[in-house]
């Protein structure tokens, strides 16, 4: 605890320098580790990943992307649906039997848990992905331009 001068450097400054060096090393290590995790820590594959590097048939994976507009079709049994999941670069046909979450609609995000069977992704479970936009219901029915005008007014 003694604040004596050692070789012209105050112990206080020595501690500061040592701590800053330790922190920089620590943050560097953390960022490197996070960077190395980049693919393993992802929660799902996007369609482009599946096209580039197809997973084994039947291996349990998750597929995430947008439900393509106009692609959602219900089969005659009433509970099986077919739709396309796209990410702007590629698209994968998905089949699912069961009850879908409320937020599952065409044009919104989805994460499907299941496996590839041939060229089709067979899903056991669907999770709806909400995007970062929060818009009141009245404005959801407006066109983009109208909504922008309202937002501009309320700002």
């Amino acid at each position: 605890m003694s604040e004596t001068r050692t070789g012209g450097i105050k112990p206080k400054h020595q501690r500061l320098v040592l701590l800053v060096i330790a922190l920089v090393a620590l943050i560097g290590a953390g960022l490197l580790a996070a960077y190395a995790l980049s693919n393993q820590a992802s929660y799902f594959y996007v369609p482009a990943d599946l096209m580039k590097d197809p997973p084994e048939q039947g291996r349990a994976i998750r597929l995430g992307g947008m439900v393509e507009k106009g692609s959602l079709k219900t089969r005659t049994d009433g509970v099986t649906i077919d739709f396309l999941v796209g990410d702007g670069k590629a698209r994968v046909p998905v089949r699912f039997t069961g009850i879908t979450p409320d937020l599952f609609v065409e044009g919104s995000g989805v994460v499907a848990e299941g496996r590839m069977e041939g060229q089709t992704f067979v899903a056991d479970n669907l999770l709806a992905k909400h995007d970062e936009n929060y818009v009141p219901r009245q404005m959801g029915d407006m066109t983009e331009a109208q909504a922008k005008a309202v937002v501009a007014e309320t700002k």
Partner: protein
């Protein structure tokens, strides 16, 4: 700043600042949350569940702000050995953990109707759960260090180092939705831009200010308690020795 490192001066300041922060924080956050519950219109997709935003998001910010407080106070403690820094770091742990737990609980309740699941192991949720466990570890360690200090050990320094090392999780939480595909949505509010409509954004910001004031008030209250405990202990020891 050196002036406030003096415990006596700090106590005089804290005596009137603490109730002020707590009362104004309660008024602001209750107002914003009630406004969010009763007045704000439902969201286009999420419907009524959007109202949980006004608790979930401020709680998340404060969970992270709590650990940032611990980290900064730990740094000050290690470098400048300010007597109040260790106490400030210890005081921030319990409210920080409480806000983290609130964030996880409300998030889970929101996720069930929105995503269709209570919990997923994606980057954001996992790193935030780790934050809660870091808080538990910190609270246990600082308690043990306190007993160690009473018997003449240097346990406070180990607590401070843990507080600094744990801070690495904060940028990871922040970036988790950007680096990795996750079920949790990417940030809505980024430097100067917001994809949250004004109707939701204003009550959210007011709630965040209110929650922050409550957090500050609780930290001050706990610092006063910890200082009083240290004084009592010192007095008892003097009595026992004298």
């Amino acid at each position: 700043m050196h002036a406030f490192a003096n415990p006596a001066r700090f106590l005089r300041l804290a005596r009137w600042l603490m109730p002020l922060l707590l009362v104004s924080g309660l008024v602001l956050s209750m107002g914003a949350v009630l406004y969010g519950l009763l007045v704000v219109p439902p969201d286009r997709l999420m419907g009524e569940t959007v109202r949980i935003l006004f608790i979930h998001v401020p709680a998340a910010w404060l969970g992270m702000a709590g650990w940032s407080t611990i980290a900064i106070a730990s740094l000050v403690e290690l470098v400048w050995r300010h007597p109040l820094a260790a106490i400030a770091a210890r005081a921030a742990a319990v409210p920080g953990a409480a806000f983290t737990a609130i964030c996880l609980a409300t998030g889970s309740i929101w996720a069930r109707p929105t995503w269709g699941t209570w919990w997923v192991w994606d980057g954001r949720l996992t790193s935030f759960l780790i934050l809660l466990f870091l808080y538990f570890g910190y609270i246990a360690l600082s308690g043990a260090a306190q007993r160690d200090m009473a018997s003449g050990g240097g346990g406070n320094r180990i607590t401070a180092i843990f507080g600094l090392v744990g801070a690495i999780n904060i940028p990871i939480i922040n970036r988790s939705v950007v680096w990795w595909n996750s079920l949790h949505q990417p940030p809505s509010i980024t430097a100067g831009k917001s994809s949250i409509d004004g109707t939701f954004l204003w009550p959210l910001l007011i709630a965040a200010v209110g929650f922050s004031l409550i957090f500050g008030g609780v930290v001050l209250a706990r610092m006063r308690t910890l200082l009083a405990e240290i004084q009592t202990e010192a007095r008892l020891r003097r009595k026992a020795l004298g």
